[in-house]
Every structure is written in structure tokens, then in C-alpha cells.
Symmetry: D2
Subunit: 329 residues, 4 copies
């Protein structure tokens, strides 16, 4: 399986380190040197700054799109049209409308398009999925989540702070991960309330997004994404009739990743508690890539695809509208 | 300073243990025996089941109203009319409207009315107050809070589950503490969004209250109170430009009380962190009572009074209305 | 099954609360009133201050000896001679020599004698036992343990500080628990090094005991018991070739009880980690009592008996001798 | 201030990153390429594989000796004889005897010799030092410490596992840090008990060292160093009459560095607790280097020098002798 990587920044380099057996044959970046350095780490990998090049190669099977989101759609669309499978980083576009017609195009060219909502592949979330599927929590009630970091000097001048490039601020950057995880466990949200605001950073996009989403069955996702989160935080709590699952940390600066299962007993009282810690290096990138390669080999619709991106971006857009933010490109 | 205690349940007995030097001279409870047992622990303390008795005693200076909230107002009003100072447990009524005119009545009779929003007096919150007042956090931005317990068998049949008695469910029970703490640090909230719902307990009041409140300056209080909180939880996080304060636990089943101060440095990066733990027994009840006695001696308007109760109940009522819950008595 | 309780102090009252279905028919204490109050909580339970009384009752099946250790042997011996089964609190005597001949006497009277090394019955230790028995740790290498509290005002004047009553200080009080747990997992210790000293409390017995014990296979138990442990601590760590088990806390002021299993992988690196927390009330007293009753019913030699007490006291005595402490009665 | 670095392995590279304003002018390593790569990171820095070269340069003021310990003494001696100041990594030699006469030689050549017992310079230990010096703990009683890691595949074949190179195993590798810290706070130890053993790794040196050291005033250091410490651990606890200090973690895989101060109150009971966390990158290397440069500039005897190395190695040697290990070169 031959892959081309378009976008050799931090995320792109992560992808290059976890090829799950595939071969990286072409690296592209606007910064030619960055592409060269990354290509040099492999063998027989070309490099350049023109993303149409790998799309023209017959020997390229799939493309990883790891650029900032203002080019996600353009590149993905072209790759699909060139009959290349695509793994595009979340959120896959700056707004839901940009993805219009892309799923149909992919179907027509019989290619798989996966969206890189990578948190699903963290060990804690894979284990949480298995527990929920086994009925451990019983009927799901609601979830809470908090995700964020404290930025860094100059954060307000990075591309994430430019709505034309990013489509928005913290909500579309980290908040969209929370939205995707919430959809993965609770399903579709029909009511949306929230608030986005720029409290600290001198930039035209929000640095905080508060969300209160409801499913048709009134299950709530009560979530907050922040880049004024002074101490890096990831905490996700899913409640069911029979217990609760809690994911803390994601490794690295977010702290050791841990899944806690609180199991309520018929007597109520303090819950039985089991905790799994995952201090080993995160394998989510490798797991996600392996699934993508299998999607291609098995002719299988990716578990996380354009429908998930559209749904998440739609919710993001509705919150922005309600708040008076308009980041539509 | 002679006190009468009206209501000898769990909270009333707590009050009786922390008299801060005052003398308990009369115990009242619908359950005569409960009143007798409590009175017997002191000396020279009368007991009975008619709350008007202590109001008729000239030697009673102040009254503690620790009954369920459907009688708060009636008893408080009568006590005030009898020129007794009053310490009434939160929330002081079932709805803001019930408190109409009470402040003026108290002023006319020149008595102090304090409302028992007791969490303010926990060591961690007293220290947090001092730090914020000293400018440690800089300009305040927003706060998050989570408070709850998992109930107990039979919870749905307790008085808290009867709207006529309680005025509502979890929102008015524990949520009102969060609202009071939020007002104490961020001031008045002008916009209210939220959702209350009964997910688990078979009762006519909500077991979960989600709140998104905003001040005129757009500071948000993003808070959740729950009695399907399977693992007892108290976590309160206040964000400022220069750092963050976090209170975890309240002692007892809520975990050791702790205050963490994260101080951002000009270089950003991981914050300087100082943590104070308070494993000693909670002294909030004693501290609160001591301030009440001083309010009386010093002819001083209590730091926490009817205005705070009205404001909190008003916010509670607005959330209930928005959700279609109507607990108005 | 009818039980008599001799010694109605803190531990005795604990025993009375966890009868595991047996009936308490007689309470004895030098303090007659204390015995009466405890007996009154049951029904049809006699009380008094003469411990020979219950030994003379034909309807008493077994006796719980929960007095300070200077009377353990005398009472146990008499109870055995009266053909009563005995559950005697650790350490069962002030020194190993006191227990000479007692096991044979019990065999002659066909009664069971169990020694109350109660920590074995904590959930975390029961689970640790199962894991070790299943081979989870592989070959056992060594263990470390720390156990202690910070005393209280007047500690130096309590009975534990009087060698004639107690047989020694912290080593024989809490240290003997650590020795028993170490024997339970590593077997017999053939080499003993250690140091006991009185650092803080004004009393003639040690407040700290440091132990370095070795089995014939050179497995080490490296342990410290202290009553200048300013923050109550219990931490026990067992190492095997394939991993490690750690027990933290015992509930109450020692912190939530928790068992952690670190499982080393062939690749080495950070271990797989699973944690069980036991926030529910400790059931060790009930579990221990249930086993004792079953020992009697099944005519079964107790899992924890005089042989364990003798071995532990022998080790204690050897450490005392090596340090120049002589607490022999 | 011009420095030469002899030994460009892991520790040497660390030194090169924290020059505290000095200039690195020469890098030496048996592996010529390693020396070149390190020199290339600076500017105008020579490189080579012959350590006598920088000693011959007039413009070199001081030398950092970061080789394995079998060459520490030889290089240090030559550097001193060449009138260069020396910062030599702990433990400075394979045995105390190797350092014989070196202090006098340094005095004769008027050069400073500092030994890199770097843990003293961690923020938590610097703060602990200040607290102890201010009398916060009152009279010091004893300390406990645990330090270790779980090794890695191939650990038994590394230079640390070769007694001729290293002078011993875990005791002289990590244990010597614990000995130095214990001396720093409790002073000289006059009695030494302990046990070293190889439990797991297939090598001729110990993988575990248990220590029970006593000062003349009977203060104990009860310490364990291990490279079968399956979960990387650093925990150091110092007890005084008035409280306790605890250092957990060292950053990195040892966990976030934290200092906890437990302050006992006259009423005894749970101690007042203050915790400082140090999540920022460790600055001990920079702090240590800055002090070394100041030692040189101020003509000041280093706070940590040959006397400390000799004392620590002497204690190490006495433990080895008592156990039958003889690693003397």
C-alpha cells in the first residue's frame, strides 16, 4: 500500500511515524524543505511542494491530507476525483457546506474517505467502547467533557487564529473532537445550545466553546473546549443507569491516560471501581492507520467518515450562528 | 446569645454542634422525640413541636430555621415579626416570590436574616476568596463546577422529591449552592440557559440540572448538579487571566478538601502549582455561626442574606421555566 | 453459634458489630458499664467484669479475646481448658514464649484457636492473594511496606506505651501486622535485621520499628512501622519477576483502600496497570468472623492461628534483642 | 568560562545543554562521531577521542567528566594536575579508595572539584532544604527513600552491569544518590546495615540495594534502590518532630516532581498540608552548572565535592562488604 502525505507539519509527521505497514512514497508541503526532510527519513520517497503531483502518480493508492483546514476540501476532492483513497484530518473542512457532494463523488470513484477523529482510537476510548457495547453502563443518560490547553506565546498569530484558514477557533479545533466522541456514544443531537467567546487571546476567533447538546431522547452532552485551560486537561465522563465511565488524560502533557469504570451496586452506595492506566506510548495513530488500510483492502466504509465530519461541523456551525460568530468562508 | 433551633434533622443537628459560643435554649421538631433528644445533649434546653413557642420567649435572641424549604418562609417571617434574628438554611424558600417583602420586614424589625449558603465557609473557599481579592487570578473569565451524589435507595420517596415541599429537585437542592458560589465570585448573571431532567429516579422533580449562565461582561458559569453522580463529586474551577483556582472535595464522602492554585507565568507553559489540603474536620458550620453571631452583635448586614437567596432562586426559577418544569408552590 | 466477648474496647466493639450470624450472649470488661452498654445493644446478652463467667457457661461455644495483650494468654489458656474455641486478637501474647504449650492444649481439648491478624481479610489483600496464587506475579522477589499513624495527645500514657501490658511499642502493635502479611506471602524468615527506637513520644517503648528480614531464598521484607507517621499511611508493595502488587490505604483515616497490579510486558517499558478501589465500608471483620465460625463448624484448623502468632512474635523478639530493647514480661 | 566535556553519552549531552553561560570549546568521546555531533551543535567547538587534548589547552578553564566511572578518577586526576577545575559526575570513582589523595592534589593546584550529585538541585529538594533550614520540621528524626526503574531489554549487558567499569550495581548507580541526599540532611552515618542482591537481571552486580543507616544520634536512613522497580519511582520522606517533607517524582518517567509539607499541629490530628508541584522542565542541571561556575569565579569550595563522594562511596563499600559483594577494582 503506497501512501502520499500532503502536509508535513506536526500532525503530518505523526502520520508518517505510524504507517502501519504501508509505504510512504511522496511527501508534499508548501515548505519544500520540510517535505524533503520527512521524505529523507524513509527510502525511495519523493518530495515536493505541489500536491497535485502525487495525485498524478498511478502507484499512489491513498493520500493523507494533513494540511490546515482551508485546503482540506480542495485537496480531498481532487484526490477523490483522481481515484485515490483519502485519510483527511479532522475536521475535514471549515464548515459542513464545504463537504457538499463529496461523499457522492467518493462513491462514484469507489474510494474510501476516512476522517481523522483520532481520539476514538486511544486505548481508553477503545476499552470504553467495548464496555458500553457489552452493556456495562446500561442505558446511557448523559455525558460531560472538558478538553483544553493553555496556548503558547504567539498563539494568537498562528493559523488556527485565522478564521479564513481554520473556520473558527477552539470549538472547531478541539471542540470538534468532543462533539465526535459524543456522537459516537449518544448518537445524533437534535438540540443545540452553547456559547463561544474570546476571553484572553487577541484574535478574531473564540478561545472557549461551551456546549449543551441534546439527543431526541433528551440525553445531554455538556462539554467545554478551551485554550485558556491553564493546566492541560482532558476529562470525559459518560453516565449510564448502571454506572459511569471516565477517561482522564491522553498521555503526554495531558497526563497519563486512564479509564475508570464505576459500577453501581443494587445497594447504591460507593461504586465498585476498576481503573486501567495506559502509561505506554499512545498507539492511536497506528491503530487508526491500520483500520484505514483495512478499509481499503476490505472495500469497507470507514467507521469514521464524511458523514461524521458533516454532522460535527453542522453542530459547530449551529453553535456559531447562535452566538453571532460567523466563520463561514 | 440564646438560640432556638427549629428543625432537628441532619442539618439542624449539625447547627447544634457548632454554636460558636451561643447557647441553645429551645429545640423544635415536628417529631417531638427528635427535639427532646437533641435538647438533652445540652443543659437547660427546652423542646417541643410547636415552632411558635420559642418565638414567644423574650430570652431567645435568634432562631435557626433548619426545616424543609416549604416552611422556611412561614417560620422566618414569623420569627422576624417577633423581632428574632434568623439564620435560615438555603435556599430560604421554594421560589423567589415567596421571599417578597421579607427583607423590608426584617429591616422594620431591625433584625438580621442570614441565609445558610454554607459552602462559602469551607476553608478552601475562604482561601480562594482571599486569593481572588488579592488579585492572584487577575481579571476573572469564567468558571466551571460539578456537584453531586448518587442518591440512596428510597431517594425518590424523600421530601426532596416532593415539589410541594422542596420547590424542585437537584437544581434547587445542590445546584443552588453552585449558583451562590458563582454569584459570589462573578456577580450577577443576566442570561440564563440550562436544562433540567429526570433521568434515573422515579420522581416528579429533576435529578440533573445543567446550567450555562452569563454575566453582562460575558463571564460564564458552566455548572452541573446531579444526584445520579455515581461517585460523589465536588469540583469547582475558577479561571482568570493570570491563573486558575480549583476546589476539589468537601471532606467526608466528597473526598479530602483541597484548593489548587495554578499560576500562569509570562512564558506560558505549565503553571506554577501550589496545593493546600484540608484533611482536618470541616469548620464551615462553626465559622458561619460565628459570623452570624457577630452580625447580630455588630448590627451588621450579613454577608449572605435574603438578597442572595432571592437572586439564586430567581435564576433557578428561570431555568425551570425555560425547561417546562413548574415547581411553583 | 454462641459467642462471648471478653474485652469491650474499640476492637471488641468492632467484633460485636460483625458477628457473621453468630449470637453474642455474654460481654465482659473490667469496666462493668462498658460491658453492659455493649450487651444492651443485643438481646438476651449477659454482661459482667469476671471473664471466667462465660467460660463456665455450657451454652457458650466460642470466646473472643479482645483485651490488651498482657491478658491474652491467660484468658485464652483458660478458655481452651474450658473447651471453648477462641478468637484472640493479634498478637495473642506479649512474647512468643508465653504461647508455649498452648497449641498442644488446644489440640487436646479439640478446640480451634484463631489469631486476629485481620488485615489479611481486607478486600485488597484477598484479591492480592488470589492474583499471586494464580501466578500473576511469577516468582516472588521481595516486598516493602510502610504502616503508621501519628499518635494523639496522651499517647505516651496509654496502655500500648506500657511494656508490661503491651510487650513493646509500635513494632508489636502495628509492625506485627506487617510481619504477618510478609510471612503470608514470602514464608518463613531466617535472617532478621532491624532497629527500634523511641524518637518522639515520651514513653519506654519504641515509636518506630525498621525491619529487614530475609527468607532462606534471600527474599527480603523491608518494612517500617511508625507512630510518628504524621500522615496516616498504609502502603504495601510485593514484587515478582512478572510484576508488582501494591496495596494503598485501608479505608478510614488511612485513605481509600486500593490494589494496583503492575504487569510487566516482555518489551519491559511502562507496565500495564489495573487498579481496583474499594471505597465501600471495610468487610474484613465480618469476613474473618465468618471464617472462624466455619473453622468451628468444619472442624478445620484456622488459616491464621497460634503458629502464625508464635512465628511473628519470635521475629519481633529477635529484633528487640538485637536492638537492646527487652520487653519480656 | 571555557569548558571541555569528556564523555558525550546521555549525561554528557545533558551537561552540554545546560552550560549556564559558559562556552563549550571541546568535546571528547571514545566514539569520535558522537563527540563531533555534539560539538557541531555549538560553534567553534573542537572534538576528538583523546581526553588529554583539552587538558593541554591553555584556554580551557574547566572540564566536565561524564564518562563511566572506571575512568572518572584517572581523568579527574589528570585534569587537576593540569590545573583545570573539574565537575565530575557521581559517584566520581568506583570505590572510595580510588579518590585517595585527590582532594590534596586539587588544593595544591588550587582548582575546584565538584561532584555531580545532581538531585540536590531539583526544585523540590532546594525548597526542602530551605524549609528544613528555616526550622519548619524541628529536630530531624529519620528518613525513608525509594528510588528505582525497571531496566530495559539488554540492561544486563550494559556497562553498568560490569563491575570493573561501574564499581557495582544499583547501589552505586542510584543508591548513591539516596546516600548523598541522606547525608545532606542528616549528616554522617556511623552504623551501616543493608543487603544487596541480584534478583532478576542476569548480571554479576546487584539489582537491589536495601539500606539501614544510622547517625550517632540514632537518626535512621531507611532506603531502597532498585532496578526491578517495575513502575519508575522516586519517593523521599524526611521526618522531624514538627512535621514531614515528602518529595515525589523527579519529572519525566518518574512522574511530576512534587514537594509536600505536612505540618503537625499542637492538637496532633491530620497535619496541615501544603503541596508544591513543579511541572515545568527540570532546571537542576542548569542550577548545578551555574553554581560550579560561581565556585570557580568566587574561588569557593563547592557545596558538593570530593568529601561527599568519599563519604558516600565509603558507605557503599561497607554495605558491599557486609553482603559479600566485592566490586573493588
Amino acid at each position: 500500500m503506497n501512501l502520499a502525505l500532503i502536509g508535513c507539519g506536526e500532525v503530518g509527521r505523526k502520520r508518517a511515524q505510524h504507517l502501519a505497514g504501508a509505504r510512504l512514497v511522496h511527501c508534499i508541503d508548501l515548505d519544500r524543505q520540510r517535505a524533503e526532510q520527512l521524505a529523507a527519513l524513509g527510502s525511495g520517497c519523493a518530495s515536493g511542494s505541489d500536491w497535485s503531483e502525487p495525485l498524478g502518480r498511478a502507484d499512489v493508492d491513498a493520500v493523507i491530507v494533513a494540511t490546515p483546514q482551508d485546503s482540506h476540501v480542495q485537496i480531498t476532492r481532487a484526490a477523490v476525483a483522481a481515484a485515490k483513497h483519502v485519510l483527511v484530518e479532522k475536521p475535514a473542512a471549515r464548515a459542513a457546506a464545504e463537504l457538499h457532494g463529496l461523499a457522492e463523488l467518493a462513491a462514484r470513484h469507489d474510494v474510501r474517505v476516512r476522517v481523522g477523529f483520532n481520539l476514538r482510537y486511544h486505548r481508553a476510548f477503545q476499552q470504553a467502547r467495548r464496555l458500553v457495547d457489552s452493556g456495562a453502563l446500561g442505558e446511557l443518560l448523559f455525558l460531560r467533557a472538558r478538553y483544553g490547553h493553555g496556548g503558547r506565546p504567539g498563539y494568537a498569530r498562528e493559523w488556527r487564529a485565522q478564521p479564513q484558514r481554520s473556520g473558527g477557533g477552539e470549538l472547531i479545533d478541539q471542540g470538534v473532537h468532543l462533539i465526535d466522541l459524543a456522537r459516537w456514544f449518544l448518537g445524533e443531537f437534535v438540540e443545540v445550545a452553547g456559547f463561544t467567546h474570546t476571553y484572553f487571546w487577541d484574535m478574531p476567533v473564540e478561545d472557549n466553546g461551551f456546549m449543551l447538546l441534546k439527543t431526541a431522547a433528551r440525553q445531554v452532552a455538556f462539554m467545554h473546549a478551551s485554550c485558556t485551560e491553564w493546566k492541560n486537561t482532558f476529562c470525559w465522563e459518560l453516565y449510564g443507569r448502571d454506572g459511569k465511565l471516565q477517561v482522564d488524560g491522553l498521555g503526554g502533557s495531558y497526563g497519563v491516560e486512564r479509564l475508570t469504570w464505576y459500577r453501581m451496586l443494587p445497594t447504591m452506595g460507593p461504586p465498585e471501581t476498576t481503573i486501567w492506566e495506559y502509561p505506554m506510548p499512545d498507539n492511536s495513530w497506528a491503530a487508526e492507520m491500520a483500520e484505514f488500510i483495512e478499509d481499503i483492502r476490505e472495500h469497507r466504509e470507514p467507521a469514521v467518515g464524511l458523514r461524521d465530519a458533516i454532522a460535527a461541523l453542522d453542530l459547530v456551525g449551529r453553535i456559531y450562528s447562535a452566538c453571532g460568530h460567523d466563520h463561514r468562508p
